[in-house]
Amino acid sequence: MMTSRTVEIWVGLFVVAGMAALFMLAMQVSNLGTYSNSEGYEIQANFEDASGLKVRSPVTMAGVTLGRVTNISFDGKSFQAVVTMRIEEQYNQLPAGTSANIYTAGLLGEKYVGLLPGSAADPCEDEKLQAELEGREPDLKGLDCKPQHLAQGSKIELTQGSLVLEKLIAQFVSSFMDSKDKEQAEKE
């Protein structure tokens, strides 16, 4: 006969073990430990083709996940896909001229958004540089100054959409045919 003390200790251990297992599953086995939902800022990008991309797909730069896709919708005017991404707060120094591409992990893997840093044409920056060279105060009046970093609500202008395998093959086949045609034309 078990004393009720032993029973209580065992039940306590059981509950602790179960909770620990749940905690491990949440933190170590899933992405809960790697991203937090509410913090960070949202940016948008229009893509010609966003096929294969899903909500929660990773957004990376230089192979490091900076955030996740939070929404994918369709813009009825430009007939493009509007992808909203949430970037973690700590990465708030992305340059405004960053471009976005949709890549595939491996040959057949998941689609993800890859960001490439770049600089945008910015009349304010030009004016500042010019002023520094000429040794005068920069005159920013009348210029369309843009923020230098991506922030809440920013829009990425430079994008390249998904590469769909069928399209690639079609392109390859047609260029192959073209070159054959040329060869034949040369022979003749």
């Binding site: 179960g18 599953l25 899933s30 992405n31 990773p58």
Partner: protein, 261 residues
Amino acid sequence: MSLNSIRTLGHKGLSFFQRLGRGSILLVNIVLGIPALLPRVRLLIQQTYSVGVLSLLIIFVSGLFVGMVLGLQGYNTLVKFGAEESLGVVVALSLVRELGPVVSGLLFAGRAGSALTAEIGLMKATEQLSAMEMMAIDPVRRVLAPRFLAGLISMPLLAAIFSAVGVLGGYFVGVGLLGVDEGAYWSQIQANVDYHDDILNGVIKSIVFGTVITWIAVFEGYDAIPTSEGVSRATTRTVVHSSLAVLGLDFILTALMFGES
């Protein structure tokens, strides 16, 4: 002849719905009895011990071995494509989404469900339940409700332990024996297992399974014919019916949860 078999069929159908009705009424009564249970944690602890703690060993061992086998088989397949880095994902996703809830559900039905039915059925056969009624103690609230609640609590914990131990088992085999990179094992898991879509849905599955298994077990015991044969039949029915229910519900839940995406 054929008229007779149609009649048998009708009879079977009717008695099925009768049992379903009795079972539903019992479930309502049990659930109504749960609030009165909260101040009496002792009862709950006692039952969590016999339902949960005593199932721990078999869940632990099975989880470990299932994880290890997944690691071995997954590796053998993945290495052909040079994708053995993804071993962690294969192991973790199969465990968290399917094998964890389903296999621990089946084991739970065999280990705890049968014990519950046999215990309650024997209490009925030896008139202990009648005696309680005559002492003005409602056996549904005093005997059935704590066992039901204990099953409800234990099952998700057991399934979580099964999955966690399984992931570790896959880790031992994959990383320890077969030389998969340790960092790749975990980072691939973390990159591909989603907290909401995978873990949470697995937990929901295990809660549903726990409810259904314990419900069937408790009902079969309470509804058993109070003889040794009746109790043994009820015990068999518990294992068969709750295993079938787990598999069927798993299909439905999977279709609902992972179907569109």
